[in-house]
Amino acid sequence: MSLVSVWLRLEARRRARSLAVLALLVAVATTTVLAALAGARRGDSAMARLNAVTLPADAVVLPNQPGFDWDAVRALPGVAAVSGFAVAPFFVEELPGYFGYLPPVDREAFRTVERPVVLEGRLADPARPDEVMVTGYFPGAYGLGVGDTLTLRLLSERQAGDFIFSGEPGGPRVRARIVGVIRSPWYSDKLADKGAWFSVFPSPALFAAHPKNFLGPSSSGFVNALVRLDQGERGLPAFRAGLAKITGRTDIEIWNAADVARHRQQVNAYESLCLVFFALAALAAAIVLVGQSVARYVAAGVGELQVLRASGLTTRQCLAAVCAGPFLASVAGSTLGTAGAAAASMWTPIGAASLVEPAPGFSADPLVLGCGWAAAPLLVLAGALAAAWLAVVSARSEAAPVRSVVARAADRLGLPVPLVAGARFALERGQGASSVPVRPALVAAVAGVLGVLASFTFAAGVADAAGNPTRFGQTFQLTAYLGESGEDWAAAEQVMTAAARDPDVAGVNDARVAVAEAGGVSVTVYRHQSFAGSADVVLLSGRMPEGPGEVVLAPTTARSLRAEVGSSVRLAGTTGPREMTVRGIGFVPQGSHNDYDAGAWATADGFEAMFGAAFKYHLALVALRPGADPQAVLDRLTKDMAGIGGGDRISVEAMQPPEQLAEVQDVQILPLFLGGFLALLAVGAVGHALATAVRRRRHEVAVMRALGMTRAQSRLVVFTQASLLAVAGLAFGVPLGVALGRTLWRVVAERTPLFYEPPVALWALLAIGPAAVLIANLLALWPGRHAARLRIGHILRTE
């Protein structure tokens, strides 16, 4: 060990800077990798941790029935708690355009079901109508937090009695103080609208003080409810049966809250997976970059220590001596990096998981940080030992160096000496003291191009989905609400005729909507009946139904029912259960009570067979011609409605993009980070390779200069090396990057779900070639200058 300590002291004196740089590299790498891994774990567990502390609802029950008896529901066996909410808006004067929704109506709210964690402040007093709570994003979105005051504006009683409200609210003003910031699965922000909607929650005392301003003068409004069951999700089938028994209705829509939680967990899990991939890529990049530094460091040490072999130095002693410095530097770096990763927990989890994190802020993950702190120096030690061993073997090897096929071909073709030499520098390791590893730079060049193209290709997929609602199956741009609960507000045919007459309307579908039940799953069924023109349904497989016994299922519904094309499913509408054959898997319109990926299409006959004349909603789904301005058409149709009897109750609305679009856009940032990281890796590795080649092979350059190579030709050697690395990166990185980007996008498309269209990042494909060559040659500027300025006489005499 005395040799090790002697050598260490020497190294600390003369190569302290190299060791410090190594420690810093290890620190940066450790921080990046561990922060990403810890963040992934935290994000993946956020939903489960939130559920564990918030008494989440198991079902959201939507009878949409005035005067519904919720006490009878509370009395059902297996029901742990019921908390009602009014299906009615309220407004906030300080926030023009904002409206709150679904205010709680009883004291069970925030206490026996969906009991939120309090991120700041406290829960609102259930006896005080002048207290409100907000979600986590609200303060950041509006600059208003605990202690600030909002002016709530309610509807007048008459306005509350109208189903469709327009204009300014004419009801009471209530000055309310924000007393808390809360979070639970129900009381949380959504990705698509962080803080923008459903983010202000009044105390139930507000409803108690002004019930008619929510339900209308004759309480014609609805109160729906959150329900918690003793047995959780397992208790749902019995609850459905009990509810049907006490109400006499089988068409009450019941959302399985666990489904919603599972979907959110899916998004969180996907984001966590992306973070894990990012961590692995960062780890690979770190291994290459740090590995190069360590390899160069120990190789130089082995070279120097070889002279002591004559004095009896053993191989083991040599390895121990040269590896001690990097190991100790990496311990220091790992310690610093672990501290950095712990500090970085302040900003995790990211994305959708941050919206459900029950304990935001600092959170050190002892497992990840502890293992990471120990693993980093061990990895460096392993790498140093391997590099040192290879250096020892190489120093004693008499084997002829392997020549590159490309360099030999260049030589045989009679290309100029600088081009041949540049090819050798790029592709041949060299021998002895002048040997330089070439694979890390080649791999890094490929990885850089691959990463950039993969991320741009993925981003092209996201952009395509964002700009094409048809990828989510939304082929209808406008919806006209014609009626509800079996009653039309105006002559539906007149309304649809008026819509079809518009020159920008391509098709109108006369869609009635109702809810059937299948195996404990609520299925929103749409009637497919073309009134005018045509509007496609986006199918993932199979075909549209053609008879009354056929349906198309949306993909998530199909998955829930374990159905596929050709399967038989039992759908129970108001007329009773019916066996229906699945003829296709496709998307449905995004509705107020269903997502685009959950529901079913039936023919007109099939719909009537299941529901008779009943419906929950009657809609006219309007498809526009390509290039039409939806807002302009909406304005025209709204004006047309005024000329139709009862038309003032008809509202025409634009289709809203599905929430999944925001989820897809949210994860776009990770592949971009990854691509950028890999590009930086490539720049670092290529720059390092160019600088190292000139330094380690200066003897070769000096010999060629002595033989008559000019300075410009010396630079050309380096530029050739750089360009070859870029070309190698392009040759392999472009096809691999496109394939990887498309594969990642396909995975996202299947998980979301959406219609997969192979993305093409055209501008990236066109620009990557010139950009790679340009950047490589820019990196070659300084080493090229160095090669041109070598003191050849001095080098040839001393080496």
Partner: protein
């Protein structure tokens, strides 16, 4: 190889063209403790076809003299003429191009390219000088044959003996038929048998008219040259 040029007669006095003419060459290297004055005003004439050995104790400036003649280093003062051309004060690229056609340099420690074969080591200077690859390869094979290394053409320098490597280095220096062959301690890294072999080779080359300046610290080696120039402390003692 070019034959020695006949002496010219001007006004009855015989004059021979100079391959190298050095006048008042000075070169000082800066060092941490004190500057090192390697050349302190060197004058030297070498005629075409001469074989000159430059001797002297270690550190007397022999190798520096050779380097400034070859343009691998620059004088601080004085003039250097090679084959009638001034080489002092020239830029690096001019010197590089000049070396291609006029200078063949043999280093003490060979300075061969380790990663390439013997043949490729010889092809490179030919291609640098503007030969087509085929022509350069043909010339390289001829020179390898001349130096008895034909059977080593595809081998890398690492597997050759010291003497073979030095012969290869000499072969490389001869590929472009240089006006001047400069050798810095060509036998310094060899054993006595290898050294004699190299010396014999130089004699043969001289016999064909090659102008040679050889730096050596060995009197025995220097005795093999046509003329010996002794240096001490950066100056020529005997021209």
């Amino acid at each position: 190889m070019s034959a020695p040029q006949p002496a010219a007669a001007i006004d009855g006095v015989t004059t021979e063209p100079a391959a190298v003419r050095v006048r008042g060459a000075r070169r000082t290297f800066t060092a941490d403790l004190a500057p090192v004055r390697a050349l302190r005003g060197v004058d030297l004439d070498v005629r075409q076809g001469e074989f000159v050995a430059v001797t002297g104790p270690s550190g007397c400036g022999k190798s520096t003299l050779l380097n400034v003649i070859a343009g691998l280093d620059a004088v601080d003062e004085g003039t250097i003429e090679v084959a009638g051309e001034r080489v002092d004060g020239r830029d690096e690229d001019w010197l590089a191009r000049f070396r291609r056609g006029h200078i063949g340099f043999v280093f003490q420690f060979f300075n061969l390219l380790d990663g390439v074969s013997a043949l490729d080591n010889l092809i490179m200077p030919g291609v640098l000088a503007g030969m087509k690859r085929r022509a350069a390869e043909s010339r390289a094979r001829d020179v390898l044959d001349l130096l008895g290394l034909s059977d080593r053409a595809e081998q890398v320098p690492a597997v050759l003996s010291g003497g073979q490597r030095q012969r290869l280095a000499i072969a490389r220096a001869l590929v472009n038929e240089p006006t001047l062959l400069l050798a810095d301690e060509p036998t310094g890294a060899l054993d006595s048998e290898g050294g004699l072999e190299i010396l014999e080779l130089f004699r043969r080359l001289h016999g064909t008219g090659q102008t040679i300046i050889m730096v050596t610290h060995s009197p025995e080696v220097a005795a093999g040259a046509g003329r010996t120039v002794r240096m001490r402390d950066g100056r020529v003692e005997t021209p």
